[in-house]
C-alpha cells in the first residue's frame, strides 16, 4: 500500500524526467557515436577526447576546490544564521538569497571591473600608494568567481538542515563531557551531513560545466571544459564532438558525486547515485 503510494507520488516526476532528460540524453549519445562528416557510426569522437583531458582535469579540480571553499566559508555563515534570533534569521536568509536573484552575467562583469589591472581594487591600492596586484586572469580569480556565484547554493541547504538540529542533543553531549570541538565533530557535523552533501553537489555539479566565469576571469591558460563544449557547438560546428565531450563530463561527474557520497555518508543511499 505504502509503496504504491510512493510510486504514485513520484511516478509523474519520473515520467517527466525520462521524457525531458533521458530522451535528450539519448540524442546526445547518438551524436557522440556518429561521425560528424558522414553521420556513420564511429568511435572517432570518443578517441578524440584524449585531446581535451587536461581541460577535464582542470575543470574538476577547479570545481572541487570551489565546492570545498564554499563549504568551509559557508558553514560558519549557515551556523551563525541558524543560531540567531528568528527575526534576524529571516533577515539574513533574505540577504543570502538577494544576490542570487540578480543577473549572474552582470555580477561577473562587476568582478572583472573590480579585479582587472586597471580596475577598482588596483586603482584604490594605487591611491594608497601601494603596488598594484595582478588579480584577474589567475586561477584564483576563476575560483573566486565560482565561489562567489555558487556560495548561496551552499549556505541555504546547510542552513535549512542546521536550524533543525535539536539543541538538546548538543546539550546532552556537553553534559557527557564533550568539549566544543568534540561536540561539533561528533554531533553537529554528522547531523548536518545531508545538507553538506546537497550543498556540495549544488556547487560542484554546475561549476564543472560553467563557461562564462572562466571566460571572463580566467587567463589564456585556463580553458575549462564548459568553454570547449560551448565552442564545439558554435565556432567548431561540431555538435558530435560537443556531445562526446559532455557525455564524458557527465560520466566523470557521476563518478565524483558517487565517491563523495560513499565517503560522505555511512547511511544507505546518500543523496545521489
Amino acid at each position: 500500500m505504502k509503496k504504491n503510494k510512493s510510486l504514485l507520488l513520484s511516478g509523474p516526476y519520473i515520467a517527466w524526467m525520462v521524457i525531458f532528460t533521458l530522451i535528450p540524453l539519448c540524442v546526445v549519445l547518438f551524436y557522440a557515436l556518429t561521425d560528424v562528416d558522414t553521420g556513420a557510426f564511429s568511435f572517432g569522437n570518443i578517441e578524440n577526447l584524449v585531446l581535451y583531458l587536461p581541460a577535464f582535469w582542470r575543470s574538476i579540480l577547479y570545481s572541487v576546490v570551489s565546492a570545498l571553499i564554499c563549504l568551509v566559508i559557508g558553514y560558519p555563515v549557515a551556523y551563525y544564521m541558524a543560531h540567531c534570533r528568528p527575526t534576524a534569521q529571516r533577515f539574513l536568509y533574505m540577504l543570502v538569497m538577494l544576490p542570487m536573484c540578480m543577473s549572474f552575467l552582470l555580477r561577473t562583469l562587476a568582478w572583472v571591473g573590480l579585479l582587472q589591472d586597471t580596475g577598482i581594487i588596483n586603482n584604490f591600492l594605487e591611491m594608497l600608494g601601494l603596488p598594484r596586484l595582478s588579480l584577474i586572469r589567475t586561477p584564483g580569480a576563476v575560483i573566486l568567481g565560482m565561489v562567489y556565484n555558487y556560495l548561496p547554493y551552499m549556505i541555504l541547504p546547510l542552513y535549512a538542515i542546521i536550524v533543525k538540529i535539536d539543541n538538546r542533543l548538543i546539550e546532552a553531549a556537553e553534559d557527557l563531557g564533550c568539549n566544543s570541538i568534540q561536540v561539533f565533530a561528533r554531533v553537529v557535523l554528522p547531523l548536518s551531513m545531508p545538507g553538506i552533501l546537497s550543498g556540495v553537489t549544488m556547487v560542484f555539479v554546475p561549476a564543472v560545466s560553467t563557461f562564462y566565469i572562466s571566460n571572463k576571469l580566467g587567463s589564456t591558460d585556463i580553458v575549462l571544459i564548459g568553454d570547449i563544449i560551448e565552442r564545439q557547438f558554435k565556432q567548431g560546428d561540431n555538435a558530435n564532438m560537443g556531445a562526446a565531450l559532455s557525455l564524458l563530463l557527465m560520466v566523470l561527474v557521476f563518478v565524483c558525486t558517487g565517491i563523495m557520497n560513499r565517503f560522505g555518508s555511512d547511511e544507505e543511499g546518500g543523496v545521489l547515485v
Binding site: Y13, I14, W16, V28, Y80, M94, G113, I120, V273
Partner: protein
C-alpha cells in the same frame, strides 16, 4: 566561537554585496566604464523607461521564473515525498536521473531539448512554430526540478517519520498529515528549493535561447547577446531597480511575518 562566526558572516556578506555595489554605483555614472566614476546622473534611469523592449523582457523573465519555479516547487516537493518512500535501489536510480539536467552543460541541454520540442511539435503535431512560451516553460521546470528535490530530500531525511504516523493514528487523512505535519517540517527546504529554482530561471540564458520562440525572449538572453558593442549603462540602472524592487518586497514580507508572529505569540500568551 560565536564571535568568529559573526566576523566571518560579516565578511561573507561584504564579499557577496561588493560587486552589486559596483553595479549600483555604475548606474549613476555619467561614463560607460564601471571602473571610473565620472559624475552623477539619473540619465540611465530615463533611458530604461525610454527603451522599447527592456521592460518587456524583464516582465517576460519574471513571468517565466515565477511560473516555472512555482510549478517545479509543487511538483518537486510531492515527488520528493514519493521518492523518499521508494526502496533504496529505486531511490538511487531516481536520484541519478535527477542529476542529469544539472550535469549537462547548458548548451547541450538547450540544443537537445529544442531538438525534442521541434520533433514533437513539427513532426508529430504538425505545428509550424513549435518553439513557444510553453516549450520554454517546460525546459525551465525541467532544470528547476533537481534544485527543489536536492533541497527537499535532506529535510525529509532529517524529519522524524514517526510524526506522520502519529498524525495518521490521530485520525489524519494522508493528505491532512502531509499539509499539517510533513510540509511545515520540510518548509525550510521547500523554501530554499523554490528560491534556487526561481533564481536559476531568472538567470538562465543558454537553455532559454535555444528552446524559446522568437516572440518570447527573456532579459538574460538579450544581455548575453550584447556582443557587438559595449554594455549600455542603462542595463546597470535596470539592475539597480530590480535590486530595489526585490529588496522592498523582501522587507515587506519580513515585516508581515514579524507582525504575524507577534500576533500568534500574543494569542498564545493570552
Amino acid at each position: 566561537m560565536k564571535k568568529a562566526n559573526r566576523i566571518i558572516t560579516l565578511l561573507i556578506f561584504v564579499f557577496l554585496y561588493a560587486p552589486m555595489a559596483v553595479l549600483i554605483i555604475a548606474s549613476f555614472n555619467v561614463g560607460k566604464d564601471i571602473t571610473q566614476f565620472e559624475g552623477f546622473t539619473f540619465q540611465q534611469y530615463a533611458e530604461v523607461f525610454r527603451d522599447r523592449s527592456l521592460l518587456t523582457l524583464l516582465g517576460n523573465s519574471l513571468i517565466i521564473s515565477v511560473l516555472a519555479s512555482g510549478i517545479a516547487t509543487a511538483f518537486g516537493t510531492v515527488a520528493a515525498v514519493g521518492i523518499q518512500g521508494l526502496n533504496p535501489r529505486m531511490r538511487r536510480t531516481v536520484m541519478s536521473l535527477t542529476n542529469i539536467p544539472m550535469t549537462n552543460p547548458d548548451i547541450v541541454t538547450g540544443i537537445s531539448l529544442s531538438l525534442l520540442f521541434v520533433f514533437v511539435g513539427s513532426k508529430l503535431l504538425g505545428q509550424r512554430d513549435s518553439l513557444t512560451f510553453w516549450t520554454l516553460l517546460i525546459a525551465h521546470i525541467t532544470f528547476n526540478l533537481p534544485y527543489v528535490i536536492l533541497n527537499v530530500m535532506p529535510k525529509l531525511k532529517q524529519m522524524d517519520r514517526s510524526l506522520v504516523e502519529a498524525a495518521m493514528d490521530l485520525g489524519c487523512t494522508p493528505l491532512q498529515s502531509f499539509f499539517k505535519v510533513t510540509l511545515p517540517e520540510i518548509m525550510p527546504g521547500v523554501l530554499s528549493g523554490a528560491i534556487m529554482a526561481f533564481t536559476m530561471s531568472l538567470d538562465d540564458f543558454v537553455i532559454s535561447y535555444f528552446v524559446t520562440g522568437l516572440d518570447f525572449i527573456t532579459l538574460p538572453v538579450e544581455i548575453y547577446n550584447y556582443t557587438k558593442k559595449q554594455l549600455q549603462p542603462k542595463i546597470y540602472a535596470m539592475f539597480t531597480m530590480l535590486f530595489l524592487l526585490i529588496l522592498v518586497l523582501m522587507v515587506i514580507m519580513n515585516l508581515l511575518q514579524l507582525r504575524q508572529d507577534k500576533a500568534k505569540n500574543g494569542h498564545r500568551r493570552g
